[in-house]
């Protein structure tokens, strides 16, 4: 276990280094001068030179890269060029909102997806199966920004049931008020998050539904299934008690692989609903060419991806006792 974790951590560091390098290269090899954005086009050549010098932009590329990596190793992700605040502080301030939205979307999507996948595998070839298949196909074919706009049109503009923009009360406040027996804050919070969560979770749900169904159907012909059936267990019983636990391995794998896509979806969803998360900060920073914030933001998303995938690897051991991480190849 320890040996495995060590190797896995080393691998993660390589991925993070790769992500940091990739973004560095894209940002610093681009034409155009970020100093122009900072001081405006009307500034004099001396002012430009001063700004470039203060940001280290006057140094050669390899020098800048080494400085950047050196700072990264020391845990210094730099300061925003525009706000002057530490990028980590800026991102951490917004991160809880993004995590709140992403986790809510996942908690809404995953159980429904697994249920739909199981139902459509158990009743394969029935109308229920077709409905589940079709809704999954609908989910992977609908762009989330359009789904968001349509949900706003229906539930906010036409029916006026839910707010179109913004977020509700802070989550800690919601918990506190629930504890004091006041559900009103919670409802207020839920009314704001339901549309963004559906917007973000639908695609995720569709992917997992399809995977769960295929995985279960693939397992149906396996010998252990035939043994269970021969003992007189019902088809549904076999799926629930024997196949589903096995399929959870594939489901968690795909959840891990799609974490990146989920965070990407959060960026779009935040823009549609004016949700004050990390995605909006990144879009603002991209628009004003605030390189340190962009670099730190990409690194943070990559870090979340890597972290979740390590957690999922550890989860395998519990889901399938046959897996011994130390013996696994790769």
């Amino acid at each position: 276990m320890g040996k495995y974790l060590g190797r896995r951590l080393f691998h993660s560091v390589i991925v993070l280094w790769g992500a940091a390098t990739l973004v560095f290269v894209i940002l610093h090899l681009s034409p155009g001068d970020p100093a122009v954005n900072l001081v405006g086009e009307s500034a004099t050549e001396e002012q430009f030179a001063l700004v470039r010098k203060s940001l280290g932009l006057d140094q050669p590329l390899h020098q800048r890269y080494l400085t950047y990596l050196g700072n990264l190793i020391r845990g210094d992700l730099g300061k925003s060029w525009f706000v002057g605040q530490s990028t980590v502080d800026m991102l951490l301030e917004r991160l809880p909102d993004t995590l709140e939205l992403t986790i809510t979307a996942a908690l809404f999507g995953i159980p429904i997806a697994i249920a739909l996948g199981v139902l459509s595998a158990v009743w394969r070839g029935t109308y229920l199966d077709y409905m589940a298949n079709f809704s999954a196909l609908f989910g992977i074919s609908t762009p989330n920004f359009w789904l968001g706009v349509m949900l706003i049109l229906l539930f906010a503009v036409e029916l006026r049931w839910l707010p179109a923009m913004g977020r509700g009360p802070d989550f800690t406040l919601v918990i506190k008020d629930l504890f004091h027996g006041n559900p009103e804050t919670f409802l207020q919070w839920a009314r704001h998050i339901v549309l963004p969560a559906i917007t973000l979770g639908t695609w995720f749900m569709a992917i997992i539904t399809r995977l769960t169904r295929t995985d279960i159907l693939e397992n149906l012909g396996r010998p252990y299934v035939m043994v269970a059936r021969a003992k007189g267990m019902s088809r549904g019983g076999v799926i629930l008690h024997h196949i589903l636990p096995n399929s959870m391995i594939s489901v968690t794998t795909i959840i891990g692989l799609e974490v990146g896509a989920l965070l990407g979806g959060a960026i779009v969803t935040e823009a549609v609903f004016g949700w004050p998360g990390m995605g909006r900060l990144l879009i603002e920073s991209i628009n004003r060419r605030d390189y340190p914030v962009i670099q730190a933001g990409v690194l943070m998303t990559a870090f979340i991806f890597v972290f979740v995938n390590i957690l999922i690897d550890l989860l395998y051991v519990y889901l399938d006792p046959r897996i011994r991480l130390d013996n696994k190849e790769n």
Partner: protein
């Protein structure tokens, strides 16, 4: 398994969803190729007296503007027809680059193994860890709002889909008897690649490429939605534009989204159809 035209046609005969997908794809192709000839109006022409006309099935709508007009009097249908060029054009070009890179790198990774395999698979991991939309937003905003930049991002980040699938298949195929026999006879590596590996990869690549086109249509529309692609004649841009008019003219945002949905839907259906045809047992040759 090979895909002959005869097999394709006979499988299509009983598959209504496959037929539907094919019809939609053909309609889209016609829209891309002949947009100026089939669109009823100029998609960019302001015509203020005719602004905010509802679609034909609502009171006040008429056949002159079947899907209505926007606040500048531009015809929504004509804009959708022309928008197909941007969305599908960039997606197809991007996927072509992705397939090209993915096949080469996938074969290097699976067939050469060793350092090649480790390096390419680590690159895949790096690209997986950064959301594609974030990467595309950065590249397009920083390098400049040209369609060519979007195509480059699609290719430079999309190859990982194909590389993973190609690698998996190569690892399987290179252990087959006929390949081992060829190796023992002293056949050069490059000949084995062209004679034995590539012909077996057409099928799986066709499936992933088809599905990826749909995915990239969504990506392009997403970028246009953020208004950073430099093109104002795109499905995503119209959705963003129409957001301000949801209360008065819902059709501006709604119909371009339907167009995106239908195209992605049909590419997904077509991909599923090809997968069932190639891989009826679900033997995972099309899964990474």
């Amino acid at each position: 398994m090979n895909l002959s035209r005869k097999r394709l046609l006979s499988a299509l005969k009983g598959n209504y969803l496959g037929q539907l997908a094919l019809v939609i794809v053909i309609v889209l192709l016609v829209m891309v190729l002949f947009a100026p000839y089939i669109s009823p109006h100029d998609p960019n022409k302001f015509n203020l007296p005719e602004r905010n006309k509802p679609p034909v099935f609502l009171i006040g709508g008429d056949w002159k503007y079947p899907l209505g007009t926007d606040p500048h009097g531009r015809d929504v249908l004509s804009r959708i027809i022309h928008g197909a060029r941007v969305s599908l054009g960039t997606a197809t070009a991007g996927v072509s680059i992705a397939v090209f890179l993915g096949v080469i790198l996938g074969i290097c990774s699976g067939y050469l193994g060793g350092v090649w395999d480790s390096a390419i698979m680590r690159a895949v991991d790096v690209l997986l860890s950064i959301p594609l939309i974030l990467m595309a937003l950065i590249v397009v905003a920083i390098l400049g709002a040209h369609l060519i930049n979007i195509i480059i991002v699609m290719g430079a980040a999309g190859w990982i889909w194909h590389a993973r699938i190609v690698r998996g298949n190569v690892l399987r195929i290179r252990e087959e008897q006929y390949v081992l026999a060829a190796v023992n006879l002293g056949t050069p590596k490059i000949k084995i690649v062209f004679l034995h590996l590539l012909p077996n990869l057409y099928g799986p690549i066709m499936v992933t490429a088809t599905i990826q086109i749909g995915y990239m249509v969504i990506l392009e529309s997403g970028l246009s939605f953020f208004g950073i692609t430099g093109s104002t004649l795109s499905w995503g841009w119209d959705i963003a534009f129409g957001r301000s008019y949801l209360g008065t003219a819902w059709w501006i945002s709604s119909f371009p989204g339907v167009a995106i949905f239908l195209s992605v839907f049909s590419f997904n259906l077509l991909g599923d159809f090809l997968r069932d045809l190639l891989d009826p047992q679900g033997r995972q040759i099309t899964k990474a």
